[in-house]
């Protein structure tokens, strides 16, 4: 079963630890955090559970159709108050419990003082193909 682990720049439940933005950490803390993320993905490749991951720029806009012959309407840049996705990792694991376990480990990425940042991550199951055997 595939799950999407979504990382947010902002939005979601209130943070439990205030780590500040990464540019307020020390360079060593930044390095440790980046290394943890790499190691995590590498470990899931080892176990055969990693599918893919991507980071997203905070830039961008909402876009919608505005009628025949008119250019699309854009709404952006994103307002400071809005939820903003930072990136994702897709994993292919045996159960919801395993997905939750892995997201929990990822959320323990180190921040200031090398302490876990306790970041909220969103975990969402993929909708699958209908089964061949139905009865």
């Amino acid at each position: 079963m595939k799950y999407l682990i979504l990382k947010h720049y902002r939005g979601g439940p209130a943070p439990v630890v205030d780590c500040g933005t990464m540019d307020t950490w020390t360079p060593e803390e930044v390095d440790a955090h980046v290394q943890f993320m790499r190691d995590f993905a590498a470990r899931l490749e080892e176990t055969g559970e990693y599918v893919e991951g991507q980071g997203l720029s905070p830039e961008g806009a909402f876009v919608r159709y505005d009628g025949e012959g008119r250019p699309p309407v854009t709404d952006g840049p994103f307002a400071e108050t809005k939820d903003l996705i930072a990136g994702w990792m897709v994993i292919d694991v045996d159960s919801w419990d395993r997905a939750v376990q892995l997201a929990g480990e990822l959320s323990a990425a180190p921040g200031p003082g090398g302490k876990p940042i306790h970041e909220w991550l969103e975990v969402r199951p993929f909708l699958t193909e209908p089964p061949t055997v139905t009865e």
């Binding site: 540019d23 020390t26 980046v34």
Partner: protein, 381 residues
């Protein structure tokens, strides 16, 4: 089996099929299929004459496809099993393929894909993996590109500028999947420079070699970006640098300066410096002036400001930013650097953080975040 030797044969084999009367699109398809079979069977059963094997296999594929097409249409098609002699082999088949695959009417992404397949001899699967797209998507991109250039004559001089731009793009894509696109771009540019004898093709080759020489020193532990000034210069590949410099000097001596030669000259001046402190920034600024005159590019203007900052001090660098579009990628990173050198650390930290938010790659973002963190630490009580 040497896969790169096999790949080198591809453009010539396409040329043979085209001279026998096949259209470019079908010939290219047939050679691709023959190539995939060769990759499959040669390791166990290598042919004595690889090129003859490929020509025979591709021609058979082409005939099969043409017959199938003919019977699908329900009409007779006189397909000769024995090829007509055709015009004498042209030595510049490969050059024509470069021009066709990077035809100015093609979008860049298609020209890149088609060049890698027809001139580079890569399989669709390899090209797709290198660009992180599904194989079916890449196959579609390539066949749309071929439909677009269908009917264009193969025997007309093309636009060297677009070919060089396409190869430059391939080089900048670096590597993904099991193919080293930077090395592939160098191979294709080397071949092009030999075929055309154009100073700009040589300039691009020199530029690639000089940048490739620094590759090992550009990333640190964990894939961290290492800026030029902090690179361990003992890890630069001196053989590649010597080759790049020699090629550049020969090109410059022909007195037909172009943007790639000017860029290569800047890279050569960096390569020349035994330490960052010994860099000849005054000469680098002069080359940026040439480059700006040649291209008028806003990106060149931005990079020039960095060089001016090194040659004449950060205030001069900031002044050189006057009139440069702040919307450019890396604008914030450049201003952050110049303000840091000018001693305005709080502003530099802010700008590095802003630059990190505007970064276009994860490695660059992490690097700029780290720069912001470093400057903030200098500010901490």
């Amino acid at each position: 089996m040497n896969e790169s030797l096999l790949r080198e044969l591809v453009p010539a084999v396409i040329g043979v099929l085209v001279r026998r009367g096949a259209d470019f699109a079908s010939a290219e398809d047939a050679v691709q299929e023959a190539l995939i079979r060769a990759l499959d069977t040669w390791p166990a059963d290598p042919p004595r004459d690889p090129k003859a094997w490929l020509v025979a296999a591709a021609w058979r594929r082409f005939l099969d496809a043409a017959r199938a097409e003919a019977s699908r249409r329900g009409r007779e098609l006189a397909v000769q099993a024995e090829p007509p002699p055709g015009p004498p082999p042209a030595t510049d088949d490969t050059l024509r393929l470069y021009f066709l695959c990077a035809h100015p009417t093609l979008p860049h992404s298609s020209a890149v894909a088609l060049t890698l397949r027809a001139v580079g001899g890569l399989t669709t699967r390899q090209i797709a993996a290198a660009h992180l797209v599904p194989e079916a998507t890449m196959a579609q991109r390539i066949s749309r590109a071929k439909r677009r250039i269908a009917g264009l004559p193969l025997d007309q001089p093309g636009d060297l500028g677009t070919v060089l731009r396409v190869l430059y793009l391939v080089f900048n894509e670096g590597y993904g999947g099991d193919v080293d696109l930077a090395a592939e771009a160098i191979r294709l540019t080397r071949q092009l420079a030999a075929l055309t004898g154009e100073p700009e093709a040589a300039g691009l080759l020199a530029l690639m070699l000089l940048h490739h020489a620094r590759r090992a020193s550009r990333t640190g532990p964990g894939g961290r970006l290492v800026p030029l000034a902090e690179q361990d210069r003992s890890r630069w590949d001196t053989r590649l640098i010597a080759e790049g410099v020699a090629i550049l000097q020969a090109a410059l001596a022909r007195d037909r300066l172009g943007e790639y030669q000017a860029q290569a000259a800047i890279a050569a001046l960096h390569a020349d410096a035994r330490s960052a402190a010994e860099t000849d920034w005054v000469q680098i600024v002069e080359w940026y002036d040439e480059l700006l005159r040649l291209t008028g590019s806003p990106v060149v203007r931005l990079n020039r400001a960095v060089a001016v900052g090194e040659a004449d001090g950060p205030r001069a660098g900031l002044a050189a930013l006057d009139g440069v579009d702040p919307g450019l990628p890396r604008y914030a990173a450049v201003t952050a650097y110049l303000h840091e050198r000018a001693g305005d650390l709080p502003l530099a930290a802010e700008l590095y953080a802003e630059a990190a938010r505007a970064a276009t790659s994860v490695a660059e973002r992490d690097h700029l975040t780290r720069q912001a963190a470093r400057v903030r630490q200098l500010l901490a009580p």
